[in-house]
Symmetry: none
Subunit: 196 residues, 4 copies
């Protein structure tokens, strides 16, 4: 009995293949055939499952952002069972961000690519905007649990996310000898927590 994959699975298989390809080449230099090869499917199929190459890109970016949103939510559910203080929760949040997001080099590489695409493509940009807004909002809410100045909380959140994205960039673009990524990350975050 040949097992027929659900069409959704095939799509994900293709998006994962693109994810893999993006470690090697930018999207623009990645051909449909490259993706098909990485996915182990015929290139013609990509046009069956997706409208065109740009559609693959859009679905991919949605998929990546969704994936990490889920990752975060799963972590959040888990962490909330631990009955931590607000400050401890924030510290844990930073730890999660550092290890799973900011210093996840494969992810950071992909995000640099997404930034660039967003810079020139309003459609992609609005997807990315939404993700950043949510991220900043989430952090903002956390900080609001330990400070009364909600405007400051929002400012600090925005700054923190900007800082993390800058560090993600540096983890790809700079060599590790330039400075110690971990120290800079934790140093910054300790300061934030102290400030509150």
């Amino acid at each position: 009995m040949p097992i027929k994959k659900a069409p959704e699975d095939k799509k994900i298989q293709i998006l994962e293949a693109l994810n893999q390809c993006l470690q090697e080449k930018p999207f623009e230099k990645t051909s449909i055939k490259d993706i098909a090869r990485a996915a182990g499917v015929n290139h013609g199929l990509l046009h069956y499952y997706f409208k065109n190459k740009d559609d693959i890109l859009t679905r991919y970016i949605e998929y990546v952002i969704d994936h990490y949103k889920n990752l975060f939510n799963d972590w959040l559910i888990e962490i909330k069972t631990q009955n931590l203080s607000e400050k401890e929760l924030i510290a844990e949040f930073f730890g999660f961000m550092n290890s799973r997001i900011t210093l996840n080099k494969k992810l950071s590489k992909v995000f640099i690519e997404i930034w660039e695409i967003a810079a020139y493509n309003a459609n992609i940009r609005s997807i990315l905007q939404q993700a950043y807004r949510e991220w900043i909002d989430t952090l903002s809410e956390m900080l609001n649990t330990v400070t009364k100045d909600s405007a400051a909380a929002r400012r600090i959140s925005a700054a923190t996310v900007a800082f993390l994205e800058g560090m993600a960039l540096f983890s790809i673009v700079l060599t590790p000898d330039t400075f110690d990524f971990n120290e800079v990350l934790t140093g910054f975050q300790k300061k934030i927590i102290e400030t509150l």
Copy 2:
């Protein structure tokens, strides 16, 4: 009917044309003919002045980085005539960075493009690395004039530059209503100066 022009100027004219093009399209989607059109020269000429498309890119990135390095040096000479205190100098430095670099949207757009290219191209990456090292070093030296902890100074410098790059990214990718870029920038920087 060829018309002769100054020789070295032409190269800059072409690099400026690329700069202009990069406001519209990523480098990969910008054709040699696009650049030639923007420069008002024949496309064949680009191959006369540059080895190939990649050579144009490399020269362009060197040119951009050099340009802003000079801008900074000119500013530094100017500011030093004003006999400011060390802390005032640092504050002025932040002000310069904010207005001329981080919130210079044309520049930030170009830099997002350069990041992406650097992520996949070791040659470009090493050029960019050198620029970031110098930038972090410069800031480090400034901070060292007001603190004894040079390791902390270096960490803060790295964090600050990462933060600024993150803010540059946000200035392009986010809409102004997300948060007030200026407030976040100055809030962060005020904190740094207080900390010292």
Copy 3:
């Protein structure tokens, strides 16, 4: 509106188109589009079936040499059914060579082209070397059936093949009024047979 055709035939169709083109222009002046036009196919298809222009050339030369090797082998099988004496066989061989190879003007023209390419291209040269070695060996074996001096047989074979190639050249480069190609060919070959 693509129309499917048999797959391996297409390659031969393209190689035959090149063969046709080489009657008009040297390979270097023959464009991919020229070949495609002669083959009645889209030019993009040539890059589907062949790696690049040079690959077409290599496959073509292999194809031509193979084609004439088969032609010879078919003739050899046929002639062996006729129970000729050794000397008669050699005479028949010369006759075959003259009419089917040396004085085959389309073939000679192509071979002058192949010589030139081989002179500058080691890869093609080694293909051609192999063919000449086989040709000289074949003739050598034939002569060995009627003489004991195998070194002499080999020398005569080499000289004969050189002579035939020189005559092929002349059949293209000289006008028929310069001398009678057939007379010179048969005069030379009669002498060879007498000598044995």
Copy 4:
């Protein structure tokens, strides 16, 4: 006092540069700038001295053929002072041909190139025809001094020249281990002399 070269010298300098280039690349792949570089002159000058690239080629072929005709004539004047018998003269002639023409690899390479060009270019072909006719005629006259059958002499001459050209081809296209070029040449020529 800067010494001005006669324009004829400059032309020869350029033709010699082409000669040099043809050891590396076929004419079609040799650019005007390649030739200019080899000649140590500005590429624009080549258009001053020659109508166009094809004109350079024509002049070059005339120049090469002329050069070797002169070489032969000089040798002939020299050899005639030695009061040799007719057969000795023919033997000396073969010796001269072998060492100076047929086994002159640089020359042979150039001639393979000229053959190819001639195969597709009627203008070049007629120059080459003329040279071959003269060569065959010269040899014919020599053979006529030792035989009465002038038709046979002409046939043998044509065959000999064809053979020599075939050997020139082999000296470039085959590796020396295929057979001993010198032995095959002298073996063939001894036979000719015996036959007479």
